[in-house]
């Protein structure tokens, strides 16, 4: 059924009516695979950010395995202090460092290669990278030294060492500088007329992610600066309810940067793997605009069972406009697979309703990671998210394992898996190194996806039996009062451990292959990348 030509069938660049004269002053190469211009300076910073992202993924992943083995009741690996400590580390490495380093790299790529431009400012890129690395290292040091056992959210009045908050602020400012550099790049491209007309869809999505990032990082500054000054003893403690409101403007919105970046990468990988083309640019772009306008309100659903805000506030903020952001995801959930179907049908895979799906390049890890990410994010992540965001259902779900069950489907099964798929093109095209052991790489997205799906579903079931998240001991050993959970909950927690182990296997294969490829891989400079 599958035509042999399809596998690794990279799109031959069609006519590019928009490309005009570049502004690189010589510091540019033409990609041997796609024919696109690669700004050498941007390439360096894409590489630096990608390397830091993978380091964070590795730390977060090793820690995740230990956490999974601790919540597996019959293993119960870590002592309680280390469980909470590593849980803090896991949150920062996975939700913040891995994601944001990756996204700054994506922004530099989208602003330069796709717009035929040079990078806005080398100095700003160094400043951004330096601040982000300093901030990340500071946070890691504080967390692993046991000076910040406050979990990712650091809800006041719980207090960490001031350097911990300072580290977060430095990282956030660094990310903001990177985003500004991206906007500067677009400005320069426009000024130097490197292109004509509208920007490509992937750049449009990256701009949406960058705008959401600015909003997010401003919330971060608003909440973290007074928390830092409080930890230094200079100011009063921020109000706990205010802290939660503004912190989630950072905490949830930062996941919306991931959503916008991930959706952009879906379009990018759709094009790179099967030559997919958006059916209707206006629809896809309109959906990104909905993200920018409304997605920040998703933050409100973290406060659905809080004191301090009333029912009217909760219902208003979590219904009318949050659903317009949901609408945006529903639209992308249609247009992305539709564009893949359209491209494959055009190649002649027309048999029946799903012939195109069976004929898709499932052996290409870039494609499988992208498509599995789409399915896991949409079905598992999206449906649980909308469900948990309802006032009444939140009462039976708040702070139970249903919440991490949801966001492991969105962030790990969705964004992380998508970025893994992206790496299968970033390494050959930007680092110009070939992946070793291609058969293992082909298997990797399936392993990781199966692990995350297993874990997310069993977490959700355990949570529906009331098992709390961020909790070391299901047995409540040493408690004044005995607490018992349904035996089904214990069983589900065992499955969480199995899923975590499986997902870790997928993750470590990805990290090892990627590190191997980057440092010891076969160079493909001067010729097109090998087909997947």
């Amino acid at each position: 059924m599958r035509a042999p030509a399809l596998e690794g069938d990279l799109p031959v660049p069609e006519e590019k009516p928009g490309f005009l004269k570049g502004n690189h002053a010589g510091a540019v190469r033409t990609c041997d695979t796609t024919g696109l211009p690669v700004c050498l300076e941007a390439q360096k910073f894409i590489q630096l950010n990608a390397v830091m992202a993978v380091v964070a993924l590795l730390i977060g992943g090793v820690v995740a395995l230990l956490l999974g083995l601790t919540r597996w009741p019959s293993v119960h690996l870590l002592p309680s202090e280390w469980y909470y400590r590593l849980l803090t580390a896991h949150g920062f490495n996975m939700l913040i460092f891995w994601m944001i380093f990756m996204e700054i790299g994506i922004l530099y790529f989208a602003g330069t290669t796709l717009l035929n431009s040079r990078l806005g400012s080398k100095a700003l890129a160094w400043l951004s990278f330096g601040l982000m690395v300093t901030g990340a290292v500071t946070v890691e040091a504080m967390v692993f030294a046991g000076k910040a056992d406050v979990l990712l959210t650091s809800y006041v009045p719980i207090k960490a060492h001031p350097a911990f908050y300072l580290g977060i602020i430095l990282f956030a400012v660094g990310a903001l500088v990177g985003v500004i550099n991206f906007f500067l790049t677009i400005y320069i491209a426009k000024r130097d007329k490197t292109y004509a007309g509208s920007v490509p869809l992937v750049v449009f999505g990256a701009i949406a992610a960058a705008i959401i990032a600015v909003v997010t990082l401003l919330h971060g500054a608003l909440v973290m600066i007074p928390t830092f000054t409080w930890s230094m003893g200079w100011t009063e403690m921020p109000d706990p309810a205010w802290y939660r409101l503004v912190w989630w403007g950072l905490g949830h919105s930062s996941q919306q940067i991931n959503v916008a970046a991930m959706v952009s990468c879906w379009y990018l990988l759709g094009t790179l793997t099967v030559g997919a083309k958006p059916l209707n640019q206006a629809v896809c772009r309109g959906a990104f605009v909905l993200y920018i306008l409304f997605i920040n309100l998703a933050s409100a659903h973290h406060l659905l069972v809080d004191p301090g805000v009333g029912a009217g506030w909760k219902i208003w903020n979590t219904s009318y406009a949050m659903y317009l952001a949901v609408l945006a995801s529903m639209i992308h959930g249609f247009t992305v697979p539709a564009s893949v179907e359209h491209a494959l049908r055009k190649k002649g895979f027309n048999k029946g309703l799903f012939g195109w799906l069976f004929a898709a390049p499932w052996k290409n890890p870039g494609f499988s990671a992208f498509f599995l990410s789409l399915v896991i994010f949409g079905f598992l992540g999206g449906i649980t998210g909308v469900t948990l965001g309802t006032q009444q259902i939140n009462i039976i779900a708040h702070n139970t394992l249903r919440i991490p069950g949801h966001f492991h489907a969105t962030v790990a099964g969705g964004a992380t898996l998508c970025f893994m798929g992206l790496a299968y093109y970033v390494v050959p095209l930007i680092f110009r190194k070939e992946y070793p052991l291609k058969a293992l790489a082909r298997l990797q997205p399936y392993l990781f996806a199966a692990g995350i799906v297993t874990m997310a579903i069993s977490m959700s079931f355990a949570g529906s039996y009331g098992v709390p998240r961020r909790h070391w001991d299901l047995e409540f050993t040493g408690s004044q009062f005995a607490v018992g959970f349904d035996s089904a909950a214990h069983f589900m927690m065992g499955i969480v451990g199995v899923g975590a182990t499986l997902a870790f296997t997928g993750l470590i294969i990805f990290v090892l292959l990627t590190v191997w490829a980057v440092f010891f891989g076969k160079s493909n400079a001067g010729k097109p990348m090998e087909s997947w």
Partner: protein, 175 residues
């Protein structure tokens, strides 16, 4: 292509399947938007989010007064307190216990005040699996009517330091 520049006049209204899908999705979003307020008035389990600012020391004083007038016994050294039906009940969370143990009557309605003396805590009633946030400085009022008698566990489900996983209590409901 998603990575190439679109044609100049790319703006066109959605057609065909896309148009149908957007219509269906939008209609579903409208249903969801209406469903939440509908269930708020129609559903039986809702929180109004009623809350007041209170200094932790004041809340503790109110709780002590409540315990003093309504205490009916002790369970593992913790006072068991039976509020007047239809009246106010106080529950304070602290590292790493709840105080006191409440004894309620089935089918009676209570105004349950919860707050914290130190960090943020969670009010998680098991096996009913009903969860609310407890913040220091806020008197969170939950209007509750127990409908099934029995012994319930109350656990903390907001991380509150290294003893978090030992923080549990009971709520007793009798016929």
């Amino acid at each position: 292509m998603s990575i190439h520049f679109p044609e100049t006049n790319w703006f066109k209204a959605p057609t065909g399947g896309e148009r149908v899908w957007i219509g269906l999705a939008l209609a579903w979003c409208v249903v969801l938007t209406l469903a939440m307020p509908y269930w708020h008035f129609k559903g039986k389990q809702n929180s109004t989010g009623e809350s007041y600012r209170v200094a932790p020391a004041d809340f503790m004083a109110r709780t002590e007064k409540f315990v003093g007038t309504n205490k009916v016994g002790e369970l593992k050294g913790v006072p068991v307190v039976q509020p007047a039906p239809g009246g106010d009940a106080y529950l304070v969370a602290m590292m790493w216990k709840f105080y006191p143990v409440l004894k309620l009557k089935k089918d009676q309605t209570y105004r349950l005040h919860v707050s914290s003396l130190d960090l943020q805590h969670g009010f998680s009633l098991q096996p009913m699996n009903m969860n609310f946030q407890i913040l220091p400085g806020y008197d969170h009022v939950l209007t509750i009517t127990p409908t099934i008698s029995g012994e319930y566990s109350l656990i903390c489900n907001e991380f509150c330091g290294f003893g978090h996983h030992t923080m549990a209590s009971k709520i007793l409901v009798e016929d």
